[in-house]
Subunit: 202 residues, 2 copies
DNA sequence: GGATGGTTTGACCAATCGGTCAGTTTCAGA
DNA sequence: TCTGAAACTGACCGATTGGTCAAACCATCC
């Protein structure tokens, strides 16, 4: 449940979570099966259940760390920094998360599509509080005339939507852009910088 | 398969598809079960399979009409109209789709998260062609100085991301905004209009 | 070389899965 | 009112599901 003790426990727990992330992020909770996870992990199904009490427990372990990681870039937005630079930095870090951890993004998206049955509480508590706190900072910046006035919460939504789109809809992005092997993220980064710069510069 | 003939066939086919949309959009293909769909539809499982050959067939029937509906707003963008007005109109119509057909949006999102195994071909064909066609129009508008120069395809991505976010992440949006009963769409519409106006006006 | 405790597994379980089928009920048209 | 087709159902099928368990394995320390 908490920290694995032996090296084997450490290694196998990680292997299982890695495999579970692969499967859950693609199939959702109900669509994923322990057999799939076991196969990806290269372990037997009973062995999975030796390390985690249930399918639910594996999923919970994945989700528990997720929200924190996901919100770190927002937390890092400095109220004493330069408004536009801070927000562009946030966008950049969030886009890097989409690029480097697309499966985590899809796991989160899956949970949202299902109506967030397992993290509803965190959304209405932790997440809401942080967003409201940062929205107040944004509102202050706007009042000071250092940021164009827009609805601060929807502004944060727009950062989420625009960055996560490149992870969650990766197939579509690549299909439309055509060049299957090319990396769409550099272009996306440039586009988003222009977008937010034009939106936010007073 | 094609058009139902009798009134009963018409009604029950619609009932089944309506129920299937409810379940598939929330659970994804693998996560959904025929029993769930049958219960929501108020029909017996064998009766479902009297109208549709298989679970796969129900899902396919839902998806087949989806892409067309989903792309209609983009199709409606008039190459001879006013650039900014046309794009804002597109955004408005797309946001209305998110508001009025959130389950369709989630069904599509689920398919994307799974890697689009059933509509990959349409993405690389029909969808790609339409986007490239409209991107050419956007590029022309930019060359004529009637639209600020940005990457046209990523511009279209941004419309998708920002509008679909309000359907796909509806739970999160409402959790963060707090007021559970309030409708976030009017505010969203205003925000998106400001965003795209500032981004696109030359 | 044993003893010990952490690790792994084949065999198995009840429940649920998508789907079939023989047979019954309902309905529309003559 | 009769009849044939359409609509519907309970019972059932083999496969798969999440999960259990006793037994075996294995590394380590004495």
């Amino acid at each position: 449940m908490t920290r694995p003790r032996t090296r084997i426990q450490q290694r196998n727990s990680e292997t299982i979570l890695e495999a579970a992330l692969e499967v859950f992020s693609q199939q959702g909770f109900r669509g994923a099966t322990l057999d799939q996870i076991a196969e990806v992990a290269g372990l037997s199904k009973p062995n999975l259940l030796y390390y985690f009490a249930s399918k639910e427990a594996i999923h919970a372990a994945l989700l528990s760390g997720l929200l924190v990681t996901w919100l770190n870039p927002l937390r890092a937005m400095d109220p004493d920094g330069d408004p536009v630079a801070e927000l562009l930095g946030y966008v950049r870090r969030k886009l890097e998360l989409s690029r480097d951890f697309p499966r985590e993004s899809r796991l989160f998206a899956n949970e949202m599509l299902q109506g967030a049955p397992r993290i509803r509480a965190a959304l209405e508590g932790e997440l809401r509080d942080l967003v409201q706190e940062k929205a107040a900072v944004l509102r202050r910046w706007m009042d000071e005339g250092r940021l164009a006035p827009v609805h601060p919460v929807h502004l944060i939504f727009s950062v989420w939507a625009l960055t996560q789109h490149y992870a969650d809809f990766d197939v579509q992005v690549r299909a439309v852009l055509g060049k299957a092997e090319a990396d769409p993220f550099p272009e996306a980064g440039q586009f988003l910088e222009v977008l937010f710069r034009r939106l936010l510069e007073p």
